[in-house]
Symmetry: C5
Subunit: 354 residues, 5 copies
Amino acid sequence: MARFIKKHKHEIGLSPYDLTFRGDKKIENVLLRIIDFDSLNLNEEIIKNVSDINKFKNSDTVTWLNIDGLHNINIIKELAKVFNLDSLILADVMNTETRPKIQEYENCIYISVKMLQLNEKSGIISIENLSLILTKSALITFQEKKGDVFEPVRERIRTSKKRIRNSNIDYLTFALLDVVIDNYIHILSVLGEKIEDIEDNFIMNPSKNVVEKINFYKRELNFIRKNIGPTKEMLLALSKIESELINDSSSIFFKELQDNLKQVLESSESYREILSDQLNIYHSSMSTKLNDTMMFLTVFSVIFIPLTFIAGVYGTNFDVLPELHYKYSYFIMLGLMAIIAIGMLLYFKRKKWL
Amino acid sequence: MARFIKKHKHEIGLSPYDLTFRGDKKIENVLLRIIDFDSLNLNEEIIKNVSDINKFKNSDTVTWLNIDGLHNINIIKELAKVFNLDSLILADVMNTETRPKIQEYENCIYISVKMLQLNEKSGIISIENLSLILTKSALITFQEKKGDVFEPVRERIRTSKKRIRNSNIDYLTFALLDVVIDNYIHILSVLGEKIEDIEDNFIMNPSKNVVEKINFYKRELNFIRKNIGPTKEMLLALSKIESELINDSSSIFFKELQDNLKQVLESSESYREILSDQLNIYHSSMSTKLNDTMMFLTVFSVIFIPLTFIAGVYGTNFDVLPELHYKYSYFIMLGLMAIIAIGMLLYFKRKKWL
Amino acid sequence: MARFIKKHKHEIGLSPYDLTFRGDKKIENVLLRIIDFDSLNLNEEIIKNVSDINKFKNSDTVTWLNIDGLHNINIIKELAKVFNLDSLILADVMNTETRPKIQEYENCIYISVKMLQLNEKSGIISIENLSLILTKSALITFQEKKGDVFEPVRERIRTSKKRIRNSNIDYLTFALLDVVIDNYIHILSVLGEKIEDIEDNFIMNPSKNVVEKINFYKRELNFIRKNIGPTKEMLLALSKIESELINDSSSIFFKELQDNLKQVLESSESYREILSDQLNIYHSSMSTKLNDTMMFLTVFSVIFIPLTFIAGVYGTNFDVLPELHYKYSYFIMLGLMAIIAIGMLLYFKRKKWL
Amino acid sequence: MARFIKKHKHEIGLSPYDLTFRGDKKIENVLLRIIDFDSLNLNEEIIKNVSDINKFKNSDTVTWLNIDGLHNINIIKELAKVFNLDSLILADVMNTETRPKIQEYENCIYISVKMLQLNEKSGIISIENLSLILTKSALITFQEKKGDVFEPVRERIRTSKKRIRNSNIDYLTFALLDVVIDNYIHILSVLGEKIEDIEDNFIMNPSKNVVEKINFYKRELNFIRKNIGPTKEMLLALSKIESELINDSSSIFFKELQDNLKQVLESSESYREILSDQLNIYHSSMSTKLNDTMMFLTVFSVIFIPLTFIAGVYGTNFDVLPELHYKYSYFIMLGLMAIIAIGMLLYFKRKKWL
Amino acid sequence: MARFIKKHKHEIGLSPYDLTFRGDKKIENVLLRIIDFDSLNLNEEIIKNVSDINKFKNSDTVTWLNIDGLHNINIIKELAKVFNLDSLILADVMNTETRPKIQEYENCIYISVKMLQLNEKSGIISIENLSLILTKSALITFQEKKGDVFEPVRERIRTSKKRIRNSNIDYLTFALLDVVIDNYIHILSVLGEKIEDIEDNFIMNPSKNVVEKINFYKRELNFIRKNIGPTKEMLLALSKIESELINDSSSIFFKELQDNLKQVLESSESYREILSDQLNIYHSSMSTKLNDTMMFLTVFSVIFIPLTFIAGVYGTNFDVLPELHYKYSYFIMLGLMAIIAIGMLLYFKRKKWL
């Protein structure tokens, strides 16, 4: 299965307004969860019908509508009506194979970003597309499935009476993006530990699956970089947007996000280099080991070659072969062989071939 | 045949206005097909004479003239007259070896882009030059041969009464470019699957044509990148053009095109790296296999060397060789040989040389 | 001989106004050829004295003075007087080792560019410096020797009554630069064919000079890139010059030149990569071949090792060696040897070592 | 332990205002040291309570408060109150895993930079985060532990009555950053000497830990580059800041800093290349040595092969084997063997195989 | 000794105003030489005291003060007084380890650049820092030791009455920088010739020090690039300076300098690639040679293996071994051996293993 890019033949040339879910269905039922708050009140609710949102939408509070699951077109269409969204946005929301990007519309800002998930056992990283739509009255987030990295933000909303409860939708957006990027850092630091462990392991206990491991992590890093690299452009565009939806004073937070992202990308680059180095070290240590062995075996063989030759000479059946008839010939031959063998051993030792 | 750049000696220094077809003739007869539509009416017709176009041209409808085949200079010249085109454009249209580019003229915009075609059996990618000329009254597209990727767009024009039927020439242009780039994505995703399959295959069933396959796909990716890379510049220039022919509200579509193209280029880069990695893995797995075999054979030989030497010693014909005359000497020798062989086997086993 | 950069000790620190010919003399006599034309008249003449140019210079026609050979300082100095040129330009003209560049002066524009010449037999590419000086009254071109790539342009001037005969000096400049770059494309496409042939050849008929060939073409591409790479900057500067000598409407032609040059540079990059790939394929195919052979020889040796050992054992001279005295021992031994040999052959076959 | 990036799961999604110490505690007690000076007076004091700072803060003197240790949140909070600092700054100060950066606030400038420390014995480079906060009334510096590279600056403040004593907070900032970067240069020059020594050593006295050493220094350089690379951006941003806290005339000092930093980065790049070259030289010298040895051993074996064969022939027991019965056969055979051996030796010598 | 970067511990954190000579003392006595000229007069003098300069300084002539040797702080300080120079400049002048740079001051421009010196015998390139200070009244140049590349400029001042004698200080500066860069070109062309010779030599007469030579030149090129690379930035900054000290009409000369420098850097890049290619060619030619030899030796051994086996079989002592008793058995065996040997030779020949 092509992991980096996907398009089926029947998808070519679909209208950009075409509302088809282009992705893998990862959840059974669509779940709509609302968190509505201001500095004093907090309301957390799971709604059944899209229309239920109207009671939150028009108040002065910050409304965060989170939607898990994208395959139900009717819900998406209703949302478009309630929030008066351009249908191009919703087509984008439903296409989970896009690059991270940002798009400004008349009445909203559309942000798409990738969430990474690390299966800590297998070390495999999976990916989920996250879409955020900032409107004047609410922040809408779309996820492909249940389970996300936003729990810390919800917890901060619930418990703290401070900053986040006093802030606006743009600050909430920042908090969510922050948690997404924090998660990148966490995943990379987990990967990083595993990568830095590889070397110690293969020096202690060399085994052939090191190469596989290294290549596995290389691909994982490649995958991460490909999916989060464009986020850099997105954040840059975000910081340049001049919209009433984004407060000027937020710029400092977006700079923070950019710094964190840069750290992620630079670290992933560093780990790639470490992996390359490790591969080289492994190969050179393997080849050193092989060479040493071959050398040993060759030297071993070479020592016997003149000895076998001597035995061969005295195995000939010549009528006249004077040495054969001396009483101590055999012992002299053995002695000679011993001297030759020891001489060669010493010579090879001195030459450091053994 | 030079696949990346072509120029015959007699073509050097031709006037840029010179109307010669510079390419391979890929179709017998030139085919002119018109689709003329507005939100209410739709007219699809194949015309014989260029002059037939006049009846569509001056109406308020969107007129799309598609021309398959570029070798008939007379038709091209007539077109120039009907649409009052600079002859430089037509010279460009007829030169199929140019880079993707865009050029603004007084009364039209000229766009050239590459269409890729994947032969799904052989995996060979062929290329066709597509020229688009946006004029106030019509969109003219030139293809080298019959058969194209535009069918989905035609189908949308025929069936849907919505967006595309209500739009103008610039939106049609966007739809065509979109389908061309969608096709890039599709081809790359097909290639991608094949590339990701290679590794599984050669681990299961190693064979020597893996290297050839990898190099084949490397060249294909190289070919793709070279032909679609400059499209990036073209789209950038397109998004910056200030012309009455292009509506300001279209800019969002061109951004979409740019995003898709970036995805294509980044994925092709990712696949190139995967291929390089695969090549390294293959070579290292081959060399490991070879080394293991050579090691085995060497160890095998080495075990017999002292045994053969011992046999040689007792094959000598010395008059005095006491061991020969003991009754069990032969059996002792065999036993000794067995001990030596087993000892060496154990030693090599412990050293992990076997 | 240093092919990429040249400076003799005595040349260090010469005044930039110093009029010395710094290059290799490639022609015996300096040749001055004038083509003077407008839409109606055409005058082609070889002049002896520089002063003869005055009769053409002041007319309204386009005057193209081409000079083959740079070593005669007197002619150069006379030219400077006739056209009132800054002596810095002439010093530049006479230094054939400069990078392609453009320089605007008060009354003229100086352009320097490299012409390539491919010896189709040896495949060696030689280089010649071409200087163009655009003045209000004439275009002066300086070449190091006779024979150039301008014949198609001359032919177009002679035969066609159209565009080129109606145009001005800037268009003539464009036509000459176009023919120079067209020639780059041609040379690269010839090289390209040869490069793409290499692979087929060495798979059919491997020989050791492939590496030499590949390295030869690598150096040729390196040489081309080094000499024509800076032309890109030159064209960019040219397109930005605001001078009354260059008509605004010419900008489209310079864009054409830039596109062609980009194609040349990108193709040369592609061919470099192909050569690198070929080198890798060659080395890997050579090493595969070598490994196969060594494996075969090793396996062959290994089969005889136990057989020779057995023969050795029965060659020992023990008094008591029961097997020696059975009637069929010899044949049993031969049979045993055959069984061992066949067994090993089958084993190695199954292991795919043979 | 992931050396390049760190984030624990419980740290994900913390509010950016969250004041938690994110780093390793490297010191027991927090130490607050004040140096307060103008051209005439100098006051150096270690204070116990943060409030003690008030007496220095409001004077016209330059006040430098240096804090060693970041884990005591109360002290940090008190500081925020005294200097009226945005709590975001303090969160940044306490997160020691950030990239070098600069951030302008309403009433202060926050600078973060890495200090390197070279353990001259082990050659291991450790890192410490340094935060500087420029306010109108004082410069506050935060270090993770005791012991720093600022002693030379303190000494200059104590002894010289010149420039530094007459300057303002911005100049002090410059002096501190200068000493940090000077320290980079020093560390790199120490590393550089060690790196340049490697080559001489392994040519004299080849040993297998060269590869480990080279890889060790490669990782050190990688580590340095990753940690000080972003300082470049920081300095650029610093030089562009338009703040009343920074005097225009300081720009020349920041340019100096940038130049020094560039030198560091370029040198680290040069050393990386040297290490790569050294690795190649080592591998090629090792492989040459191995090849020479294998060649010698092979040639040695090959010489005995025909000799052993001859002995084998005359060891056969044919009834009729005429050579066996001549009187000098044995000696002729020995002579023949000597001739063959010497002949082969000479041949191999001429072929330069020995 | 660290060749690329140097800083001793005691130098860390010195005030930028600190006037200490940081470099190697390369000359015994400081030498002050004045050349004072205008179009009519020329005055060349070696002065003892700095104050002697006053008589030249205030005239309308161009005054060039050249100082060889930097270790005498008193002279430097006096100069500062005479020309009213910022002490930061003099600190820069005395630090010979800086990167090439340019700095504009209120009353002067400071330029620092590297002079290269090639020891033509050993091929070792040494470096010297050159500082130029342009003031309104004089050009002051500082060199580390006697002997420079400026003789051609002095000669031009002495002999020619033209351009240089009529020009101002900025033109003199240009002439000196020109001669420095011309010298880069000369050194690189000398290196270039040696590099291009390497290949011919090692094909004719392969020896193992080729790798050392190649690595030597690689390091030399690395050294050159590191030291003159930043000159590019310096020249760019110089061309952008708007100062009354530099005439607008000089810009054309600085463009010339930039072009020459680019040529140097591009050529050094080309030579680096050539060296890399040469290394690859050398290694591949060495490995081909080794493989051919090993193949030959292996084939030689393999031919004897079955022969020795046959001899072994007939060396066995079976009571019943019929072949032993036929009259021609021995000769048949010899014939059989010959046939086997020749057969194998032919087989190996056909397989191209010999």
